[in-house]
Symmetry: D2
């Protein structure tokens, strides 16, 4: 069965047919396609196009097709060029001639846009839950390890001491923005195209708002031309996914570094690490590296769709068929990646001693300068003095906090005594107590807020 | 003047300095940087770090620096590696030693993030207004040309008749989504990083929420590490711009086609067309082609930033300096492109006769099938009959509506008479009256809604 | 069977294993993997690591594994994490303990790089042949339709008359550059990594140059660290594919335009066109639109890999596993797309009358100016006169060649008579006879050269 | 002065003109444009279109325009929409009416393609030299530090010991491929478009091959339509640049890691490092981070151009004007980045002691397994034994080479004595002596080959 062809004198070339068909990937929309068709049948009845009895027959038939898909017994046949054809073909086998009434007033253009939007809306729901899983793992570790201190880095150079919980939470908030973006993208996706026909609107008096409610859409598309060609929702999902993946790649990069022997701050569980076929001693963070690498792949998926959309003329063009593979691929990647990352975080062993050992007095040079500010030295000058102290300590070959008093005094008369009390990591942390700072008190507030956010789903 | 360097034994290599400096592009943030510094000075006073008199001195000095920038008299000097250095250097020349107190408790990491967010928030406000300009031009033409009919295309083949106003509005709604995305991106950008220090939070008791209000931010960042490295707002702006540009590229593509001699549906005003250095007769739609081409460029800007962000370790890394040139370039492109497109639309001459002449009876084959549905023929069968009628008309060599009655009857017994009344374009349009359809009544509702939307800003 | 794991206390988490495994896509390398292993076995013998008899056993076993794959009877089992594991696992079942000697001195890092390079080399050979198919179709049409004239366009505005053969050949030469690039990429891919171990080189005295010859590589990698991490060949293939696809997208775009009713220059065969589920009259160039759209997808595949490679540390990282899916996807796309495009070109119907009817005298305004140059008027001035003539003809409402003599003379005294002889399309063509021009003679030379190029393969 | 416009009734809208103009960036082609024009004047003389005296006048005038550009005294005026207009406008001021003869038989379409190809050819020459500079710095360090040993990493975990020279050279060879690609891209760019007119070829008997020789092109374009629209050379340059940058980003990433305190393998010179405005102790590898980050930006430039090219119709379209900014930006980035990287490498301080201290016996587990192979144990089994030994050493809490004999014997009867002699780093290195291995002898051969390659330019 074909949904078209009576005006053509010859059949489609087999290679062209294979090239043209989308069934290899759009079969994934079977559930949405069938639900959409059932709602359409009811809509046709309300519009007076088919009888209520015909709609019942169609819906019973569609229910049987659905059950076949759901049970894994649906059989595709060679002519099934796409999921719409496959479903209607099978429906006609089950329900007979009445099946021929289902496509009245509808086009595959508005049909596929409806199916795909439904799918993306549900994919977003799934992805949001998976993100929560990673956030929960981060938060659990942040709570369990509260108080553990490690160097904070900028430019991969030791900068200032921070709480490890603070570090974990920095990734939590990035993921929270991802969830928020996905919520907004879902809202925009939740606009019903069905009833737009091929491009000009349906010629039957369909109550599209009722149809939208039946299918779980928040509203209806305001323009039929736009409705059949709008793929913003696909591009948005790919962007959300790529930016999310970039956040995960940054988390992964840090975890890779921290689990190197050189940093030694943490170790992945054996159940989340892999070995080498040649080197027996290796324990590799493959899952983190894949997370990092897949961020690149997801950027490519987004780029590809945007490039495909660029420069198309109005309304539906077949180029739009390229919209689904990248969205499916991005979703599958997130589905696989997020739980693994959550697992790796939940099971990793953190080494507070190694973290603490990596702190050195030089990391408090800012506090040294701040201390001078407290004695009335302008910060810019205090910064210079502290910098020279660092350099002097390197020259002398001692840690910054062991520089002799004479050295301090030659650096600035403000040092009437050794600034020894500055070099206290706990006090340094406690000072950073403005909102969002690494002070234990401020981090506790963060944890409470995060707990609240997660509670809200 | 340098903001750092006392721990170094030698100066930065001149080539490395040139490579490192960002002043060539971040000078554009002068206004935001100075406003941010003034607010910081007040914040330091409230925190008890500097006196109210010192803050006054700083603010007066900053006001003078601002005036120099605003008046175009600010002089950069070789050591001004970035806008922060330039402003503080000049401030110290004007205000003397007190200038050295301004940078207390602050880092360029939180400073630049603050400046850049402010800039992006204001850029979004500008872009939204420019988009409105294009929307207004589309709507004005849609209202002025109400009733004009032309072929609607799918696959660039004539599909069904539509109103030209409907076609214009299809682009209006795509732009409306762009505006909505920008509003949401602005909300997310509106989070203050200032007070996050280099990475760990400021060590002084700054009231960050007050600071946020003073600078026009909706909230404060919840985590200092995240605050200094979060560039989501830049990536979002680039995505919004790229998707907007893809919408404009589709509009441009169609206008290019429609202004070809072959379509002949419209003609650009001479003031929005260009000629050839070799071929005297040419009148070219360069501005539309540039609009199409720049969509590609904007995709590249987004891709570039995402690739740059991928795989960075936590907190601030210098790679992030690559965030500004693409955002500035994208904004400038929108600023140049949107008003030109608005102008081209507002001034183009539409040719209703050419549009009407391109309609042919074959475009109502769907209505022919729908008519059979009205006589009880299932749509799938009716579609087949209509398709065979199209083919038969080609074979016979007549327009579809001139196929003899005998031919009709040999195609289906349902044709007890020639389906002549089907081939009425006005009636075909009027039937597509569900929400979003091309029926005049439905389009009128669209125009009213669009007018309402534009009124709301 | 696992190739690693004895140092681990627990098994890999099932989700992590699924995420980590590459067998779903790298199984495609079975042929290359087995050939590589057989060559390696021989290399180990020559190096004195295993006996000749052991190598025979290994090769016989590998031959059986190969036959299973080739016959479609190979059974994967759950532990087969990648193709290397699957092959070695099966080999050990077939050949017994000797199988455990095969991986001596080798790592999956050099093994997979070898397999993948072999695959890409062969993929390039395939792609080059497919490109030839399109070139041959273009050339055949160019020869068959020699003499047919149509408007040449710039900015999609009629510019100057050209031969349709000339237009067809413009796409031929772009494809020839694609073939040349692929040849060079293949040469660079043809460098053997095997014998590089995991990163540091193999610890056994393998004759790598002999190994390269045995496997069909042109040379051996000069540095083992580089050898296991170099993915230039994959990126190059993706670039070659993306640029090729961009050429095809431009060809497709033009064919879509030319097969619109508005241009009407050609019609696709029914066997390369598709219909609509709603609109019975439609005949759509779906295969051309997909060709255009897939160019976007291929750009994304390239971008994705480059983003993945960016910023990796030295030597092998698991991120590199993301190299294969895009290369496989790009190759499959080319394999499907190129023959369909060749078929569409070979079977399309060209309409010389419609092409000719689209020529108008205004397209010879350049020749009008050139004619004035022949009478001593500087070109810049002549261009101005011709431009004013075009405008005057529009104002008067006549074709350019029907402007009355009085009008000509008021434009320039150089018109002592009407420039009627200028408006001869054949002569205009014949004048463009420099190499690469559209004159029939020059195009004939092009065709001869193209024939020669295709002959050379 | 405008090169077109006589057919237009109104001037271009000022915003449209600004949007349309390319003079802001294509002014950079002044040198190529003038040289191309001089060659064209000579070509017109040989074709009998202008006299030899006229050509002399034109060339003298062009020489003066050149001198003005070269001396920085050229003044642009508002009407200069592009470099071609600017040069011809100024020429007409200098040389009078004869200037109006220069553009005979030529279009800006073939002119700009010629200018831009010349520019890219010269840019490639420059970039190749800059790459050599980095290669030379790598080689010099590799020679100076010959013998220094450090851990080789895979997955950022210590894998096997290697020579630091070997590591340095791994980056040398990647850059060598970049140079090779640029050479091939230059050869393809070296095809003259001039003489193709706007699209159809020039109508005058120009000797294009002579013109090509005069301008330094290797050949002439075979098809005028292709010639004016082919931007492969720009895309190739951007790809070459992006892949080169990805190589540099990997080098930079490693150097950033190695210069962290945690690795501590090297330290940048003070003249190639930067400090912090807040933290006085910081010494940051900004130039390396920018190198890493700019790889992302360059990926975006490539993507952007490819997306712009996608789907254009045949011949010249204004979209192509978007080709220059990304090429200029990519070149400028390389020009700035490569010398800085060379300088950073040449001046960095390497710390052999820290490198050596990072080696541990576990990194020789492969050699342990290889040793068992020497005693007849199949590698797969030997790998398992070695892995269990690693795990046992962790459990016992001793380095692998200090595991007691009893432990060894319980692991395998093949250990008749402790495998102590395996744990010799020098011997382990020396064994990896196949071509490309890290054995000192093999690395010496690499250095000799590299020296030869650099000598060859």
């Amino acid at each position: 069965m074909k949904l078209w062809g009576s005006r053509f004198s010859t059949a489609l070339d087999p290679l062209a047919a294979k090239f043209n068909n989308s069934i290899d990937f759009d079969r994934r929309l079977w559930d949405q396609d069938i639900r959409g068709s059932a709602a359409w049948a009811r809509g046709l009845t309300r519009a007076g196009v088919i009888t209520s009895g015909e709609a019942d027959e169609l819906c019973r038939g569609l229910q049987r097709v659905w059950a076949e898909f759901n049970g894994g017994t649906f059989k595709f046949v060679p002519g099934d060029e796409d999921i719409h054809t496959a479903v209607e073909r099978r429906l006609s086998e089950i329900a007979g001639p009445v099946a021929g009434k289902l496509h009245t007033g509808r086009s595959r253009n508005d049909q596929v846009a409806t199916d795909f939007r439904l799918w993306v809306m549900e994919a977003i729901d799934g992805a949001r839950g998976r993100i929560r899983g990673v956030q929960a793992a981060l938060l659990a570790q942040a709570e369990a390890l509260f108080g553990v201190m490690l160097p904070g880095y900028t430019h991969l150079q030791r900068a200032q001491p921070i709480l490890f919980s603070h570090w974990l939470m920095s990734h939590f908030w990035a993921l929270e923005r991802d969830r928020e973006r996905l919520v907004q993208s879902r809202q925009r996706a939740s606009t019903l195209p069905l009833g737009s026909g091929a491009l000009a609107g349906t010629a039957f008096p369909i109550d599209r708002e009722r149809l939208a409610r039946d299918l779980g859409f928040a509203g209806v598309s305001p323009n039929s031309l736009d409705a059949v060609s709008d793929r913003d929702f696909a591009a948005e999902f790919l962007f959300d996914a790529a930016l999310l993946a970039s956040h995960l790649s940054r988390l992964a990069e840090s975890l890779i570094l921290y689990s190197s022997l050189e940093f030694g701050f943490l170790e992945l569980a054996d159940s989340f690490a892999t070995g080498s076929s040649l080197m027996p001693q290796k324990k590799n963070p493959d899952v983190l590296e894949l997370t990092r690498g897949k961020a690149g792949t997801l950027i490519g998926l987004l780029t590809g769709l945007l490039a495909t959309l660029k420069g198309l003329p109005s309304a539906y063009d077949k180029d739009l068929q390229e919209d689904k593979p990248p969205v499916f691929a991005a979703f599958d990647t997130l589905e696989a990646m997020l739980p693994v990352l959550a697992g790796a975080i939940a099971t990793m062993t953190v080494k507070p001693d190694r973290m603490k050992a990596a702190l050195d007095a030089g990391m408090l040079a800012t506090d040294l300068a701040d201390g001078l500010v407290g004695r009335g030295v302008p910060f810019r000058e205090a910064h210079g003095i502290a910098g020279r102290a660092v350099r002097r300590a390197i020259e002398v070959g001692v840690p910054l906090d062991e520089l002799p008093l004479a050295e301090w005094q030659s650096l600035s008369p403000a040092f009437d005594e050794s600034p020894g009390d500055v070099f206290d990591f706990d006090k340094a942390l406690a000072r950073r107590n403005a909102i969002g700072g690494t002070a234990p008190e401020a981090v506790k507030a963060q944890l409470a807020e995060a707990r609240r956010v997660l509670g809200g789903g």
